[in-house]
Amino acid sequence: MFGLNKKDTRLMWIVITMVVFAPFILNPFPETSGMAQFNAGYPDLMQRFVIFGIFAIGFNILFGLTGYLSFGHAAFLGIGSYAAIWMMKLLTMNVIPAIIVSIVVAGLISLVIGWISLRRSGIYFSILTLCFAMMAYALAYSVLTPITGGETGLQPKLNDPRIFDAPLAAGASPKANLFGLQMGATYELKLGGWLFVINAGYYIAGLLMLAAFYLSIRIFRSPFGMMLRAVKSNQQRVNYTGLNSKPYTLAAFVISGMYAGLAGGLLVAMDTQAGAERMFWTASGEVVLMTILGGVGTLIGPVLGAGFIKYMENIVSKINSKVLHEWFAFLPDGMEDFLVAVFYPFVGKGWHLTLGLLFMMIVIFLPGGLMEGGQKIADKFRNKKKNDKDDSAQAAATPAE
């Protein structure tokens, strides 16, 4: 189905199911229970899951297939954001032009930066992309303030031209919408103790992520994708095989830049603001982390990695000492205080510490990321099952003797 083989079709269905039912899957705990803070099924976070999923899927097309490690991809996300916000200021609050233009602009800029940076490879390529991204960041804060809003960033204002939209009533705030359907529109479904939030913005972003994911499967399975993997494996042989590696890598770079632009445009569609901090090099580092954490070069790994990091960021950072005390309340006081003191540095404001440690663990023990980890566990399970079967077969055979 979809022009995919059986295995990929199954994967596609799994992802579709995950995206469609995310508001339910991510809210497993009743609203009033103590575990409710582990629920991730609220619109803001779900939107981030799918948007950063798109970002990571795109990054994986470059890094996972060609092996070129860009350390400046956040620049394209930021550029996409600025492009989108300007469409909202100039044309309309409808998200369609914003999203299309963010992809196009990010694509054009990544064409220029890629064309220059791909003259070198290895660490030199990484440093070149890093330099370009840092330049974009620094300029957005200084010289380009008229376009970027400098430190305050940009938001749609009441008095923006917006030539396609009817003028807003005084005091009303411009809201992002899709032909009138507001991104913020939500329907709250109460089932017993559970509260599920169905949000329009999430499903629009989710739909685009599914499209992005589908496209990435197609690229992975195409001759083009095979050539990219060949570039990663042995660039010398690629050239002596009559293939020009430069346009291949450049195409991959531009495609991943466009994915980043789409992610940036969607971020704006959801929260209608753009700022330069999205382009800082740590933001570029974050997408590298997501991809590696999930599994470089795997199809679904980057999506999982993005979800994992965003979940940690939002959930672990919300745990404070009060919550910890509640958890360990059943223990004797001394023990409780001790455990709270042990866990406290890792949660709340210290969640970066958890992230850093986790990250080191993964690079040290699971260089293939979460996907490889899952594979290993699955293999163990399968072997065990097989052994069990052998055992039972033997057991069955014994009495006959």
Binding site: I219, S222, F224, R229, A230, N234, N244, I255
Partner: protein, 251 residues
């Protein structure tokens, strides 16, 4: 007139003159061996044919066109394939993919943005690659990763990759180095078969005289960067200059 004509090629690295006034003429449809002691400049010469090095002076004409100053992939697209001294294959890819890639390169040219085509849907290319693997007797290994192959199999795979492009000229840099006797004989047989069936012109650099004299229809001897003899195999055997180059004038 030969398919590859090399005239007055000079190349030096710093003070070292690696090639001095090299002239070479490879006839279409023949197997031409280039032999010579270590350091004679054989690999340097080959590198000048594929765009890895550019000679300081001189011309390299292939099929009537100059090969100088054009990029490796353009030279390959013109019809020159090369087998390296140490196998250059796509280690992280499967054997089948290793052969599919040159087949695609042959059909689609140096760059095609076929990002939405499916490898599984390209039956003509797949059939061609499959046939090639059968020809080199590797069809049972097609799903293995290329990195897990034995050294001899890696060489055969690289040869299959080059042959699948139906090159007009195949350059082989010591195709049997490090092979066991049986493997060497298989390779000789394979190359002879290909030459007979497809009439591909080949230039072979080789140390193993058994291979050279089994295959070559013409031999050029390179010593200290110059061609000291070029003749039919039987004449090269007794050539005084050649013996001098190899044995340091003991005869």
């Amino acid at each position: 007139m030969g398919i590859l004509e090399v005239q007055n090629v000079n190349k030096s690295f710093g003070g070292l003159k690696a090639l001095q006034n090299v002239n070479l003429d490879i006839e279409e449809g023949t197997i031409h061996a280039i032999i010579g002691p270590n350091g004679a400049g054989k690999s340097t010469l080959l590198n000048c044919f594929v765009g890895k090095l550019v000679p300081d002076t001189g011309t390299v004409m292939f099929d009537g066109k100059s090969l100088l100053g054009i990029k490796p992939h353009e030279i390959n697209q013109a019809g020159v394939s090369r087998v390296f001294q140490t196998p250059e294959i796509f280690s992280d890819l499967t054997v089948a993919e290793n052969v599919l890639i040159p087949c695609f390169a042959k059909r689609d040219g140096a760059f095609t943005l076929n990002a939405l085509a499916r490898v599984t849907g390209e039956t003509d290319v797949r059939e061609k690659a499959e046939q090639m693997l059968i020809d080199v007797n590797m069809q049972d290994k097609k799903d293995m990763l290329a990195s897990s192959l034995s050294r001899g199999d890696k060489r055969r795979l690289e040869m299959a990759m080059c042959l699948s492009q139906d090159p007009k000229l195949l350059l082989l840099d010591e195709p049997t180095a490090g092979m066991a006797r049986a493997d060497t004989n298989n390779t000789i047989e394979l190359l002879a078969q290909i030459q007979e069936r497809r009439h591909i012109t080949m230039a072979v650099i080789e140390h193993d005289m058994h291979v050279v004299f089994s295959l070559a229809q013409k031999i050029s001897v390179l010593a200290q960067g110059t061609v000291i003899a070029e003749d039919l195999p039987e004449k090269i055997k007794g050539h005084p200059k050649v013996q001098e180059a190899y044995l340091g004038g003991a005869h």
